[in-house]
Symmetry: D2
Subunit: 174 residues, 4 copies
């Protein structure tokens, strides 16, 4: 679409949280979220995520970890989700619930690869509410890379290993 002039976009003040946009180390620290976290995504609790008890349902956190993994793994060059990319399969997922969350709360999901093998890796996650930063839940997941159209495993790309190791301090296992 040709535009004669730049589109005017709703301006956000600096006091607004950057939803759906990677929040990197320096900005995480400014929000009070400590090391080792280097990558975060902010969102807000929706009505549909509450259960009949009025709190965020236990399954919603796994959705949040899933929504985190997709851009994170692209940023870490593990996959570009293209036709030649591996199929990423969840081997396990877990959450610990520490503080109940309610409607309309802003939160930041942070996550990182903690350990890797040749064709799989272990991630850990935390959910933070803000002002002050407080952990409401943590989580873990093991992801396996499979060949897309054939049996067998797919090795984590070198660039992904390097990013896990250099940016997130992940350690080699096995």
């Amino acid at each position: 679409m040709a535009l004669l002039q730049p589109r005017r976009i709703p301006v956000r003040t600096a006091a607004m949280l950057a939803y759906h946009t990677p929040i990197l180390t320096e900005d995480l620290r400014a929000l009070g979220i400590p090391a080792p976290w280097t990558f975060g995504l902010a969102d807000r609790v929706r009505f549909g995520e509450l259960d009949a008890l009025g709190h965020v349902n236990n399954t919603a956190y796994l959705r949040w970890f899933e929504s985190f993994r997709l851009p994170y793994l692209k940023a870490r060059q593990v996959t570009d989700y293209g036709p030649g990319a591996p199929r990423l399969v969840l081997r396990s997922a877990a959450a610990e619930y520490k503080v109940e969350m309610g409607m309309d709360l802003d939160y930041v999901v942070v996550g990182r690869a903690r350990a890797y093998r040749r064709t799989s890796f272990t991630m850990e996650f935390a959910v933070y509410t803000l002002d002050p930063a407080q952990v409401t839940a943590t989580g873990e997941a093991v992801v396996v890379l499979l060949n897309r159209d054939a049996p067998g495993r797919f090795p984590i790309p070198e660039a992904g290993i390097a990013a896990f190791r250099d940016l997130d301090g992940a350690v080699a296992e096995g």
Copy 2:
């Protein structure tokens, strides 16, 4: 929480969309979203909203309309969701699907009261993707106000009627 200095918040450039924050008339027009819309909320398609065909599932749009209604009805002074507020019950909901939507798309849900009676009102909705603004779905819902702890209907507060009429051009019915 006492802070010695202002907290540094991740700064958004003017090119970012204001998710989860009411987008009002002037900013909607800047995004290419025309009259009669005066209230919008932006969000981004999540992986969990796709179905096995890879497109946003038909039920997700009703979730989006629901997530829109809550802050909209507060802004229009129909309810403060407090203990003395009416119980808002959905009488009907409908969606028309015009363009399939995929992963990670930004969208703006807009909505307004189109008509009102003493204890119920009709809303209409649209979903826009941007650059250029394009309607991907429309919707409608009829909401009824009930007494919270007693049988019978609850009249729409005067301030709500005025807001529906003056801000959204809603018309009296029945």
Copy 3:
């Protein structure tokens, strides 16, 4: 798996509702569900379908209609969901909510094609609770058949048209 003897299956008494299995005309009438309904599927409300107000959320009904459509359209020979089958796309969906539903309620979704054109058809739905049979919601949907791997529409197969007409009394439109 070779079995020396028939597997013993948990036996249901005649007093149990046949969940997830098409319930046809005679059995629908026995449950108190009247004409024109000729095809039903029973299920039970789950905790995860309740919202924070403790009632079945408005979006759940559209899920139920969707879960109904899939086996119904196979039974009516509109599609076998195979590689040569059309792509079925929802043009619109709607629900009217008549009675609030709670946890663990048994219900039967009934539906039928009401009208058809060359490449699209209109369905209507109802949700019944039992003892006595009571309509808690109704719905409607327009489904369009598209070519799977090419632009353009796909005509409803002759066998599907015949089934819509002969079994459900659907009428030709347009």
Copy 4:
């Protein structure tokens, strides 16, 4: 509702799986589901539980475990979900995914308390597909009992402890 004659109910043949109805030890064994499982609930995969990759989404399994817990904990007399009942809060949840599951598959969720303390207990779960019985996922959850309207913990009722121990072989911890 007064009925002059017994209502005729859709009859199931013995070959049908008893969905939504507790399946106890003997019937579990008949399905090929081994000790230590003594309580199961059968259901069928729905379209809405698949994700964009066409398999049951990782979060659906936690929904299934949740749907299992509710009737199981009532059967074990831990709670009657009445006004005097404790508030049951999930401390943690986990799943291991072993075999991908697709549309329309029948499955049985089994679960049991494995260990208990004064005010909390640990459950384990498995998901089985049938013919032959095969574990597709396992899970674990820690549940804490809280006072409903006051701070502090609520002790597991004696009858619940006895049922956990005598029916499921749960062991005391801590």
